[in-house]
């Protein structure tokens, strides 16, 4: 495996390494898009646009707002890191983690209600639990990644000279937000 130092030694500067990182991340996003796309298309293939009347619309709207708020706090954390504002980076990363945790708590509440009205054995329940579950798992992994950059940032890592790890994690968080922007109307509104 080629390390960053070896790449630089062989004429690939940090800029080249950054482009390679970007390419890898966006290829990962492309593969994830196919995964989410398969789940979303299966929802329409099995139940068309039919949605149960028992869906908790207020909770789903609240979850959407929470995730959008986490996106702005993540963006602020990234901006603070790129401008060497360590305190801002820490505050906004913690805010993003709290909002992400709140989102997962809301999903847990939603699932307890959903189990009663449309359990996983029903057609809509299968689509609902698999799609929301897939997304919640991505939120969970995003939270773990955010915790990692928070603790490494506390040790003095990153900043404007080494912003890629933070940028990569925050981009992943935005991707998870983007996925919800499509999942929310797919399950609740159409």
């Amino acid at each position: 495996m080629t390390t960053s130092a070896e790449l630089i030694e062989h004429g690939h500067g940090p800029s080249k390494q950054r482009r390679i990182n970007q390419l890898g991340l966006w290829l990962f996003f492309a593969s994830e898009t196919f995964l989410f796309g398969a789940f979303i298309s299966s929802r329409f293939a099995t139940t068309q646009t039919e949605t149960p009347a028992d869906l908790n619309q207020a909770l789903a709207l609240g979850l959407t707002i929470v995730l959008l708020l986490s996106s702005i706090s993540a963006y602020m954390a990234e901006t603070a890191n790129a401008h060497d504002d360590r305190r801002g980076f820490k505050i906004y990363t913690i805010a993003t983690i709290l909002l992400g945790t709140l989102f997962l708590g809301g999903v847990a509440l939603e699932w307890t209600e959903a189990l009663e009205y449309f359990p996983p054995g029903t057609i809509y329940g299968t689509a609902f639990f698999s799609l929301v579950g897939l997304h919640a798992f991505h939120v969970l992994t995003g939270l773990i990644a955010l915790l990692v950059i928070l603790f490494l940032g506390k040790e003095g890592r990153f900043g404007s000279k080494d912003s890629w790890p933070v940028e990569g994690v925050i981009k992943y968080w935005h991707f998870v937000d983007l996925a919800w922007v499509i999942i929310y109307p797919t399950l609740y509104l159409f």
Partner: protein, 75 residues
């Protein structure tokens, strides 16, 4: 939306923070309109698609810096 720039584009820290908040407010407003349309219109699929696309474009452009990919997103 001239105020909105990406994290690594030109502009000060404050400008970038402001553009982020403007984007977030736009996303929030679009979500509320989307919800209002969904609860008032029957079979709103086609009416909601522009909202989904607009929100996705905002996130990809301002938050994921998709336009900076060509240059590798360098400072």
């Amino acid at each position: 939306m001239t105020a909105a720039t990406s994290t690594y584009g030109p502009g000060s820290y404050r400008d970038k923070a402001r553009s982020g908040w403007i984007t977030a407010v736009l996303l929030g407003v679009l979500t509320l309109i989307e919800y209002a349309v969904a609860v008032t219109v029957e079979n709103p699929l086609l009416l909601l698609l522009p909202f989904v696309l607009a929100k996705g474009a905002l996130i990809m452009d301002f938050f994921m810096h998709v336009r900076k990919l060509r240059t590798g997103g360098d400072h």
